[in-house]
């Protein structure tokens, strides 16, 4: 049962990634794209965690930690750039 459920979870998370990517391409201003990238980081962390729970490989959780850290730092850096520069 868990195989089918993990497949459904991975497909749903991939659909969410696709929708966030549409917003990343369309987004009229730069903060829209920053929000989409922030959501990207969260969804990728979720994908890695589900894969680690399915396959039992513990080492991929370290990659999830690193991606969460770098996503937060990138969001802060982009927000600083927006506050000082041109939003369009």
């Amino acid at each position: 049962m868990l195989d089918i459920v993990s497949q459904i979870t991975l497909v749903t998370l991939s659909a969410a990634l696709l929708l966030a990517f549409i917003r990343l391409v369309k987004g009229p201003t730069l903060p829209d794209r920053i929000v989409a990238m922030d959501l990207f980081g969260m969804l990728v962390v979720g994908l890695i965690v589900v894969l680690a729970g399915t396959s039992g490989v513990r080492a991929t959780l370290d990659a999830a930690i690193v991606i969460a850290l770098i996503g937060f730092l990138g969001t802060i850096a982009y927000a600083t750039y927006v506050e000082r520069g041109d939003p369009q």
Binding site: T9, L19, R23, L39, M42, D62, A79, E83
Partner: protein
């Protein structure tokens, strides 16, 4: 039993993540999009982390999963606040149906130029 709880929590978490993505795609404004993104994706990721911790059933992996969850719970509100503040002061237009803009009505503070 563990498999059943894991399956339920994973389905709920992926549904919340999909709702966050739909909100980011469909909301009319930067601030409403960010409101959908931060809250729903935090809840969905917490559910996915609980399922993975149950499935691995190891102390070291539980510590790692709990550290990811604590980090996300700490940093997502900070990131949302910083993005909202930066986009407001950069002059990103609000939605037409916005009924309250307390920052503009305040006497003190920098005004956003439109």
């Amino acid at each position: 039993m563990t498999d059943f709880v894991t399956a339920t929590v994973w389905l709920v978490g992926s549904a919340f993540a999909l709702l966050a993505a739909v909100g980011v795609l469909r909301m009319p404004d930067v601030f409403t999009r960010m409101q959908a993104s931060t809250k729903a994706s935090t809840l969905g990721l917490a559910c996915l982390l609980i399922g993975a911790a149950l499935q691995l059933g190891d102390f070291a992996s539980f510590i790692r999963v709990a550290s990811i969850g604590a980090f996300v719970l700490l940093t997502t509100p900070v990131a949302g606040h910083v993005i909202a503040r930066a986009s407001y002061f950069a002059g990103v237009p609000l939605w037409k149906g916005t009924v309250l803009d307390e920052r503009r009505n305040a006497k003190a503070g920098p005004q956003p130029d439109e």
